[in-house]
Amino acid sequence: MNLLNILSEIEKVDPEVYGRLDSRRRVFQHLSGLGGKLAVAAVPFALGSIFNKAYAGATATQATVLEVLNYALLLEHLEANFYNIGTGSTTITSALSANNVKSLNSIKTDENNHVTFLRGVIAAAPFNATPVAPAATDFDYTGAQGGSRAALFADVLTNPATFLAVAQALEDTGVRAYKGSATDLMSNKTVLEAALNIHSVEARHAARVRTMRRGGLMPANDRASLVAPGANLSTSPKSWVSGRDGGGPAPGTTDAVYGPGTPASGTATTIFYPAEDNVTQAGASISTILTTAVIAGLATTNIPTAASEAFDEPLDMATVKAIARNFVKTGTPTFALLS
């Protein structure tokens, strides 16, 4: 196997191949680990990785890492400010059990920490940029966009059930947003890891808020997790997303949080944003993947549900911004940033 032949062949049709790879020297460092030491079967995989790295950026229109960071920061401000208001309202907290209040406070701390963290990353090298700074007054969690239209959640800041419904929509959106932008961060592995690890924390929040909604405001013995999900997944969700959850916590209003993005379909080698009820992964239907396996105990009727629940789907920036705009006053700088 003469790997150098491969590169020289590529060079004949693409003289810039070395420029596309990190650097000529690193290509050879990478390749020197292949050859004799690497199992033959693994070589095409490893080479595919090298070429993906070199050509992905050349063919796709990718948001810059900084743009993604400021976008994530806007979403974190939206969430942090929401929990700051909720946990500061006795109307909300007095109607919730001790563990539920403790949970909201814990989420509030995390979201404010995410704001601090992202601002630090944006301000530091290599970006040395000024982070976006939305004013708390730019947000309107009723969904009336500052009075420019009818409210979607008129009692969000006075009714704890509505507050938790909106919290679920915001957390589930956050999970999808980070996941959808992660592929634009592959060029900066440090930022990529940080974003994915914030994303995991958002998923923990989302699961807890779902558990709280299922268990009720004052669950028996304050054990919300012991309550089984109901038939109506909008009002009594599982701790994970199941199908489209019947349109989410407010069907007719929150459907987009669980719906498809743009583009909604693609292949195993492209990046796309299907709805949460997607049951095709790596280019194959999960039910097809499962029929070739030795499966004990998984009922065939449960396969579509399990196939959907087992994967959280990403959402593209434009679709997420449209969802976020619901909670921002029109005419504000924040609204412009989300447009």
Partner: protein
């Protein structure tokens, strides 16, 4: 092999190449182009040593192995629920088993012939003797250990992947693992879904998931694999 993708197809235009590079068919042809003199030397290995491959296939096999472990754990639980498990808990653990099984089979599908166990007559048995699976408390402790570890494993390995679509697919699993972990922790201790032992606030990092390297994860899980020893020494580290 003197013939190549390029000479067979005559003049390959640069733009055509840009379109196909990264597709496995093109890569395979490129590999053929590189076939010439030397063949890899076969290496004799310890039968109890499972050496994970390099690069993405090695990382996928690592995550596949963890999925096999999780699936086997939940299967054992649902096959014989502890007597003090509630009806709601049984429903939830059936879901967890289903999800892990779907993850496991999806990873096996992605690996194809690269799956470490394609040549094995039967799957690796896992040793759960370190856990108490006959009581609710023991099952929840084991589930929390494996779910938190899984979250940390994804947190510490996604950045090591080279192929963008692979990383994108694994990220879809990573957040579901975080949902599982949060749920199981809440069953054990209400409100502990994102406690400081799994969500780190340290120095510049503020409220991000604890991440563990493959080496750390395999060290923490080694008792489950005995007598097999899984070696991550060929996996990428940066």
């Amino acid at each position: 092999m003197s013939d190549s993708f390029f000479s067979r197809s005559g003049a390959l235009h640069r733009r055509t190449f840009l379109r196909v590079a990264g597709a496995s068919a093109a890569t395979a042809s490129l590999v053929l182009a590189g076939c010439s003199d030397t063949e890899p030397t076969p290496v004799v290995v310890d039968p109890n040593l499972l050496q994970l491959a390099q690069a993405d296939p090695g990382l996928l096999n690592y995550l596949y192995l963890l999925k096999q472990l999780q699936t086997a754990f939940y299967q054992k639980v649902v096959d014989a629920f502890p007597s003090d498990f509630s009806a709601a808990e049984k429903l939830a653990f059936n879901d967890l088993r289903d999800h892990e099984l779907v993850h496991r089979e999806t990873l096996r599908f992605m690996l194809g012939a690269n799956a470490y166990d394609t040549a094995l007559l039967q799957p690796l048995p896992f040793d759960f003797s370190s856990l108490t699976l006959t009581s609710r408390a023991g099952v929840l402790a084991g589930a929390q250990q494996l779910e938190d570890l899984s979250v940390a494993a994804y947190a510490g390995s996604l950045r090591l992947l080279a192929a963008v679509p692979t990383a994108a697919l694994l990220a879809k699993i990573a957040s579901v693992e975080a949902r599982h972990a949060a749920f199981v922790r809440d069953l054990r201790t209400p409100g502990s879904f994102a406690d400081t032992d799994v969500v780190v606030s340290e120095g510049a990092l503020q409220s991000v998931s604890l991440a563990k390297t493959p080496t750390q994860v395999l060290d923490e899980t080694k008792a489950f694999f005995l007598p097999v020893v899984v070696s991550p020494s060929s996996l990428p580290t940066a």
